[in-house]
């Protein structure tokens, strides 16, 4: 028994030593980081193409699908101009350790810039720091990281939530009973959004929050939670919810069809606009609001990365965030009754129901963040 195991240990150690010895020799003299350091230390020589990598740890959502798709499209623009190479995509459902592996693989492939949609607020710090040390530009898209040296590109989640919360409060005339359906408690985006909602509601002391529950950013859960709320509070005056859950919540209201419909907020997705349209046929006075949460912030981030790689200086006065490294992207579309028909009949016309209302900055628009 033991002999075999000892033999195995010996084999493992021996082969590993052998492997290490074979591969180890050159690394002592030639730093493997050399190619990646070029863009940061010196302006890129003419004709040198940049490689950009994306690390995405979550694939089961339309947001992420649309994000990857538009990243490929935007990169193709630069590729056709001979500025970038093929986009290197690391995208799979995975955990923090798995995303660390994704990032290590990107570093290993010698990319010049990494776009990362982080699965954890701090768990990637050391790995991202390693990338930065190798001269790689690291941009966190969609979600803000407070890691020194990491740039952020995304919307202001708090302000985003305030838009629909304020609309709701004004629609209610500053009084009434409402419920809140939130995303994952503790998730940074959700925390920021709920802070925004609370700030708005503080200005309207006559609006009472009867209940607050999580819909886990999931349509079905949102529907279930809303059904429960409608059963407990038949005279509900309104509710606030967000991304992914608004469709489910509205479907719950449609199913219950109460005498008096609560004032409700929606989400920037074509499927929601379809429900809106459906409801308008029954009640021409129906109105709601849909604020886009654009997956396009990632391709915008790619444009920013390309411009930085080309040696342009970032205008730090235009940046915000805790470290002053955040590019804040304005919300591209807000749908209200004024522009509903227009958006519904044009943008959503030839798009699948799952399409999220989006906006990608052009290369020209991105120039506002750089020193002229």
């Amino acid at each position: 028994m033991t002999r075999r195991h000892f033999a195995l240990i010996a084999i493992v150690l021996m082969s590993a030593t052998l492997i290490a010895a074979c591969g180890g020799a050159p690394s002592t003299t030639a730093p493997t980081t050399a190619p990646a350091q070029q863009p940061a230390t010196a302006p890129a020589p003419e004709g040198r193409k940049f490689t950009i990598g994306i690390s995405n740890p979550f694939i089961s959502s339309e947001y992420r699908t649309q994000m990857i798709q538009s990243l490929i499209e935007v990169n193709k623009e630069y590729k056709d101009l001979g500025i970038t190479n093929e986009l290197v995509i690391e995208s799979a459902d995975t955990d923090v350790a798995g995303q660390i592996q994704q990032l290590q693989n990107l570093i290993n492939k010698g990319v010049d810039a990494i776009l990362v949609n982080p699965s954890d607020v701090n768990g990637l710090n050391d790995t991202l720091q390693e990338a930065i040390n190798k001269g790689i530009i690291v941009i966190s898209v969609d979600q803000e990281l407070n890691t020194p040296g990491v740039y952020n590109v995304g919307i202001d989640q708090k302000e985003w939530a305030k838009i629909s919360a304020r609309w709701l409060a004004e629609k209610l005339g500053g009084q009434g009973n409402i419920v809140l359906i939130e995303g994952f408690p503790g998730h940074p985006a959700n925390v920021a959004r709920m802070e925004g909602v609370e700030e708005v509601l503080k200005e309207y002391p006559n609006i009472k929050v009867l209940g607050r529950e999580t819909g886990k950013w999931d349509e079905a859960t949102g529907q279930q939670v809303m059904s429960n709320f409608l059963a407990s509070f038949p005279n509900l005056d309104g509710y606030w919810t967000q991304d992914g859950m608004a469709i489910g919540a509205m479907q719950a209201v449609m199913a219950a069809n109460p005498q008096k419909w609560p004032v409700l907020v929606g989400e920037g997705r074509c499927q929601f606009l379809q429900l809106w349209d459906q409801r308008l046929k029954e009640d021409p006075n129906f109105e709601t609001i849909a604020v886009a949460n654009p997956p396009g912030v990632s391709p915008t981030g790619l444009r920013i990365a390309v411009n930085m790689l080309q040696g342009k200086q970032v205008d730090k006065s235009k940046l915000g965030g805790a470290n002053g490294l955040s590019f804040i992207i304005p919300v591209p579309v807000i749908v209200t009754k004024e522009n509903f028909q227009e958006v519904f009949t044009t943008v959503c016309k030839d798009k699948p129901a799952t399409y999220l209302l989006d906006g990608i900055m052009t290369d020209e628009e991105v120039q506002q963040f750089f020193v002229k």
Binding site: L8, G24, S91, N105, N108, N122
Partner: protein, 322 residues
Amino acid sequence: MKQTRWQQATYRHPYLFALLLLVIAFTANALLQPNLLEPTTLNSNMRVFLPLILVTIGQAIVMIGGGIDISVGSIVSVVNALLATQIGLSGDLSTAGVMMGVALFVGMGAGALNGLLIAYVRLQPIITTFATSFIYAGLALFILPNPGGGAPSRLTAFYRETIILWLPLAFYIIALLLFIWAIMRRTRYGRYLYAVGGKAEAAYETGAPVRAVQFSTYVISGLMAALGGIAMTLLTGSGNAQVGDPLTLSSITAAVIGGTPLSGGAGGITGPIIGAVILGLIRNIISFAGVATWWQTFVNAAIIVLALAMPGIIRLVRRRRG
């Protein structure tokens, strides 16, 4: 006869197939990623694989003893939450040492609860550990409701960057564990373990302390999960109450790829260790082979299914030929 020789060989060395798979996966990975063999690259891979390797060893021992442990991922989360909150980003090394010791006891305690319910109250392992997994997951969330906390970078750097004689730290840890296992395997306890997992009634009749052995496997599993949690904390340098979740199923998959049957009484820890490394290498291969984005998850799962089915396929082919 060839047929019996292969069967005998795989019976005696349950890790043989996994080893073959490892050679294939490693070769494929090395061809696609030439610098895989450099110490720094080897290290960056092994430090990511180590948490799963540690958890898988515990899982394999439970499986050899005829059980299964669905709660390992949650135990990792509890340990991670505990360390991240108690040590903190600016914590000193002595606190860290004490808390890691505490973490090991927490892991063993969680394992002991599992063992108590399964071996002495005689509840079904799969249901029991599934239920306790929620207790531990809830505990982790209670300790650390929002992701945060962490470990000082001096400490994480030790885990992330230690390379001794061209070999990453993980190799020495694995070698040490294999050494301990080799000794344990020889003792009376080692023989009881396989007897209990193979046929508990028969083991009981021959006087083996069945319950105590079953109980012990869960304590070991809890201990290994705690070690996995420590490794995970040092890898990420941060706390997240859900960090361990994906490790549960991966540890079972790795153990099975490593030749540990779900029916118990056979296998070892060598195969499962290899199994865990293979799971990691597959992700690398997909990454470096440039598999199209939308196919990555599919290809990953397909390779795992193939790896799981391969021993059966080989047996089938050999029987046909024989």
